[in-house]
Amino acid sequence: MIDLYLNGEAISTDAENLAALLQDCGYEHDRLATALNGIFVHRESRTSARLSPGDRVEVVSPIEGG
């Protein structure tokens, strides 16, 4: 189990990489983008993005904006 932050909330996860994390956390659509510790992670790089304790993961999707 890894303790990390997903969108600012502390969670524990079995996922070893970003792709697995998204799946485990129930993300159903893929109109998403991800960042790991403030660095953008391409969609195709999520599997190779290994997670470590204390990581800060951000998952964002479209919203209205000005």
Partner: protein, 257 residues
């Protein structure tokens, strides 16, 4: 009609999509005002949520172009990462680059802006920088690869209109061939018409429509006013003068005293 990075745009009103009373009203506003480019943003999505997907479907349904922003980013790193995420999600290399320098005025941090723009231009983005009216900053942005400039009229959401007309006129005359967009601070259609009459290519606004009593009607009003301002610019308006000039000819007037 304006052209940005070799793409023709059908409406010189670029419309923000936040703060509307409801998604339906937003959609109606975009449709009835025949908006072609909308600004959009990103936010954290929870697992199981479909909020982002729904918004995306609305965009697709409307068939509009999107200009993702980097709103609320105060550092170069944040702005760059946000832009990269937005490119993936929105499938566009256009980005409205905001690097904010002050929470009260929400004004650009021109130092961070230039640095972030440099990184993003080098990374293939087509950057629309939200900047100040500063001519020297504008020149830097152009030198590092920006092909559009978006100076503010006044603080975001303030509705004050154009606070420094002289500086914006100066920008326009120094960069006659660069697409210039007044972004932020526009409150009423007359402000937008004024910007277009000054020769600006487009106007970007959000709050003035979204927070109006009737956003749908207000969006249409801005489209009309912007079209009017553009036409007027092209039609060569009269100069102001101090003395009156009779419009009705005086010659041939009957003598009736």
């Amino acid at each position: 009609m304006p052209e940005f990075y070799n793409e023709h745009v059908q409406n010189a009103l670029l419309l923000g999509t936040a703060r509307y009373p409801s998604p339906t009203i937003l959609e109606d506003a975009i449709r009835s005002a025949e908006v072609d480019v909308i600004t959009v943003s990103l936010r954290r999505e929870s697992g199981g949520s479909n909020a982002g997907q729904h918004f995306w479907e609305m965009i697709k349904r409307l068939g509009v172009r999107v200009l993702p922003n980097t709103a609320s980013c105060y550092s170069v790193k944040e702005a760059v990462t946000t832009a990269q995420m937005a490119r993936e999600v929105f499938e566009t290399d256009w980005v409205k680059l905001e690097v904010i320098g002050n929470p009260d005025t929400l004004q650009p941090d021109v130092f961070g802006l230039v640095e972030a723009a440099r990184i993003l231009c080098a990374d293939g983005f087509r950057v629309f920088p939200y900047t100040t009216e500063d001519l020297v900053v504008a020149d830097r942005l152009l030198q590092i690869g920006c092909e559009v400039l978006m100076p503010w009229g006044s603080p975001i959401g303030s509705g004050q209109g154009i606070n420094n007309e002289f500086a914006l006129r100066t920008l326009r005359s120094h960069f006659p061939d660069v697409p210039l967009v007044v972004d932020a601070g526009i409150g009423r259609p007359s402000h937008a018409a004024q910007a277009m009459e000054m020769g600006f290519d487009a106007v970007l606004l959000n709050t003035a429509v979204a927070r109006a009593g009737d956003p749908v009607s207000m969006a249409k009003a801005f489209t009309e006013a912007i079209s009017a301002g553009r036409s007027a610019f092209l039609a060569n308006p009269i100069e102001q003068n101090d003395m009156a000039e009779p419009s009705t000819p005086v010659l041939g007037k009957a003598f009736l005293s």
